[in-house]
């Protein structure tokens, strides 16, 4: 159990050092602050609409138990009733008028009893409303949104990796006039907040006719200064002799880039891939201004449109949020391992 050993490491040998206590308290607070909302979101995404509105709220998706009683078409909600004699019985509710409810014993469907609603309590059971998820795929144009998001994320990430690595290759491995100034210029764009260039970007997208087109979301964000910087710094560590050896080996510049530099930058590419996937997948502002027709919506836009002015279907919204979170989590979990192995193998060399 190496992981457990790692997690339970302490400074004090025999007993906890005061810094251990402080560290663990700090870590647990952090874990709670960051992870609890996600956990609650996940649990709540399995609640029915009524269970979400219930007060006091529960963590797990409890909902009222229902039973099928002979003579009634729909399943009836089950209550625990305190009868006059002080005895407890589980009864189903047939109907309710004011503070009086007509209850029926499940075993004897013909006998009904009038009960004050203060004398009964609903019977809850743990029930996962899978329909929140299954409905999504049938209902709405969820599939389209998902596809739009996936398409934008995958294509934009591939293009980002390609173009940024080419720029980084040139900036790290070629000597040319103005090399420093080009690099500084690229880095300088980091200082410009994306919201500031939002209007010009919109105008350009409009001019080239990419409004309401997924490419209008993909192309403006392909070149990222962060990506160029990250890859360049990594490529600087690739020895020049390798590239010279490839040049002696009759390799064209493209082949040097494709066969030598790219494979060797894999760890940095993985990092950038993670960033890019997260940026594109979570991007809201750019899709919002570029895509206005609902068939082009990404998941983020669809989530937003779920929040209606008068009515919000929270159960679907939460389920969709979970689905929206999943890919990024998976990508991160998968590529993070790749990064650590990349660092490890680089260390051996």
């Amino acid at each position: 159990m190496k992981v457990l050993d790692f997690l339970l490491r302490t400074r004090g040998r025999q007993r906890l050092h005061w810094t251990d206590v402080l560290t663990y308290v700090y870590l647990f607070v952090g874990l709670f602050m960051m992870f609890a909302p996600v956990l609650w979101l996940f649990a709540s995404s399995f609640k029915t609409e009524s269970a979400i509105g219930q007060f006091p709220p529960t963590f797990l998706p409890y909902s009222q138990k229902t039973v099928i009683v002979a003579g009634h078409e729909k399943p009836l909600p089950l209550f625990s009733v305190e009868l006059d004699g002080g005895q407890q019985r589980e009864m189903a509710q047939v109907s309710r008028m004011g503070i009086l409810a007509t209850m029926v014993d499940v075993a004897k469907p013909q006998d009904t009893v009038q009960v004050n609603i203060n004398q009964r309590k609903p019977v809850y059971e743990l029930k996962f409303a899978w329909s929140n998820y299954t409905d999504l795929f049938g209902k709405f144009t969820f599939g389209t949104y998902l596809w739009n998001s996936v398409f934008i994320t995958v294509v934009a990430t591939l293009l980002t990796l390609l173009f940024n690595s080419m720029a980084a290759f040139a900036l790290s491995k070629y000597r040319f006039k103005g090399q420093k100034s080009v690099f500084l210029l690229i880095i300088a764009t980091l200082m410009i907040p994306p919201t500031i260039i939002l209007v010009p970007v919109f105008l350009v997208i409009n001019q080239v006719g990419l409004l309401n087109n997924l490419w209008g979301v993909i192309l403006p964000a392909v070149a990222t200064p962060t990506g160029v910087f990250l890859l360049r710094q990594y490529m600087l560590t690739i020895p020049d002799e390798l590239i010279e050896a490839a040049r002696m080996d009759h390799a064209s510049e493209w082949r040097i880039y494709w066969r030598i530099v790219l494979p060797l930058s894999a760890p940095a590419l993985a990092v950038l891939a993670i960033f890019s996937v997260m940026w594109r997948w979570n991007d809201f502002l750019l899709p919002l201004i570029v895509l206005s027709q609902s068939e082009h919506f990404t998941l983020q836009l669809a989530l937003n449109s779920f929040q209606g002015e008068l009515n919000t279907q929270w159960n679907y919204l939460l389920a969709m949020t979970v689905i929206t979170l999943l890919p990024v989590t998976l990508v991160f979990a998968f590529l993070q391992r790749y990064i650590t192995t990349g660092i490890a193998s680089a260390g051996v060399k």
């Binding site: 020895p239 002799e241 390798l242 010279e244 050896a245 490839a246 040049r247 002696m248 080996d249 009759h250 390799a251 064209s252 082949r255 066969r259 030598i260 494979p263 060797l264 193998s345 051996v348 060399k349």
Partner: protein
């Protein structure tokens, strides 16, 4: 077939304002094993990189097999280079490393496999073809780097200090292997090193460089027997030659008789001292000694304070403070003038 494999005509190289190569003329014949040797910073690697095409000369002409190649890229010059760090592609197998150059030259697949297999057999790499460079030992990596050069069947092999990363024992055996390889392939090889022992043991022809200039070109024996100047005399040969002020050496009657006029320094290799009887030769007070097995390296001091090193055959250990009388071997000492150039004694 009288065309030389490589010809340099007044090659110069400057980086920004600093000139590092000052007009080098050199001719390398086909099948020759030429070693560039010199202290670090003398420009030998730069020279090699210019021959390879990785750096461009600032002035002068570079000819390979009679053809001017100044404007031809590294790939098309027909040279193959073995780098100091081997520069193996770490993400490729040994096979892929060796095949990469051929793939780039669009050689058909069966031929690639045949050539790589051939080179692998030659270098005893056949069992390692599927390994990655990180899984190989230093010597094996070295062989792969050489194999990568061989498969392309180059006109000239270029080696940039290829043995400096190996341990001493492996270096000696690789030296022999490289010599053997040179004979088997009868290829032209240019080899850069700062280690004069490597140069002496391997070269057909040694080029001694200092500060961007050629000091002397010649066979190892020529450099050893008749160094042109004090730099070459001091650089070639181990232990280093002793340089004695001419005025002091006059105490030795034999030398005094033969000393040419204008001589400022007299050079004697540590192994070229003869024991003289008391009263003749030079009086040397012993400061210490190192035991080398068959011989003993004695460190001594002349009457004027000049330190000398003398190799003595396994005789009894001279005690520290003892005065011994030694005389240079009559045929094997050299006289140098004020500029450091050797004065030819037979002419005077």
């Amino acid at each position: 077939m009288n065309v030389s494999a490589l010809e340099l005509r007044s090659i110069e190289k400057s980086f920004d304002q600093t000139q590092v190569i000052h007009g080098i003329d050199l001719e390398v014949k086909k099948g020759e094993f030429v070693v560039f040797v010199g202290p670090s910073g003398c420009g030998k690697s730069t020279l090699l990189r210019m021959i390879a095409g990785l750096d461009e000369p600032t002035a002068g002409d570079l000819l390979i097999e009679g053809q001017r190649v100044n404007n031809i890229g590294a790939a098309d010059r027909g040279c193959a280079m073995v780098f100091q760090s081997y520069a193996l592609y770490p993400h490729m197998t040994v096979f892929a490393n060796m095949a990469f150059g051929l793939e780039n030259a669009r050689v058909p697949r069966p031929e690639i496999e045949r050539k790589v297999q051939e080179a692998a057999n030659l270098l005893q790499l056949d069992t390692l073809l599927q390994r990655k460079p990180t899984q190989l030992s230093g010597g094996q990596r070295q062989r792969v780097a050489i194999g990568r050069a061989i498969v392309r069947n180059p006109k000239i092999f270029l080696f940039d200090e290829p043995l400096s990363n190996l341990d001493a024992e492996l270096r000696v055996s690789m030296r022999g292997e490289l010599r053997e390889l040179h004979q088997r392939l009868s290829a032209t090889m240019i080899y850069v090193t700062h280690d004069q022992v490597e140069a002496m043991t391997m070269a057909d022809k040694i080029v001694v460089l200092r500060a961007g200039r050629i000091e002397q070109v010649g066979t190892p024996q020529a450099l050893y027997d008749t160094p042109d100047n004090m730099f070459v005399a001091g650089f070639i040969g181990s232990p280093r030659m002793d340089f004695l002020p001419a005025a002091t050496v006059l105490q030795d009657a034999a030398v005094r008789a033969a000393l040419p006029s204008g001589a400022q320094k007299v050079g004697v290799r540590p192994e070229h001292w003869l024991r003289g009887s008391a009263g003749e030769g030079l009086a040397i007070s012993v400061l210490g000694s190192e035991y080398l097995g068959a011989q003993r390296l004695v460190l001594g001091k002349l009457s004027d304070g000049t330190r000398v090193e003398i190799l003595m055959e396994g005789a009894a250990e001279p005690r520290v403070g003892e005065v011994v009388h030694m005389t240079p071997h009559p045929q094997r000492w050299h006289a140098f003038d004020a500029a450091g150039c050797r004065i030819n004694r037979s002419q005077t």
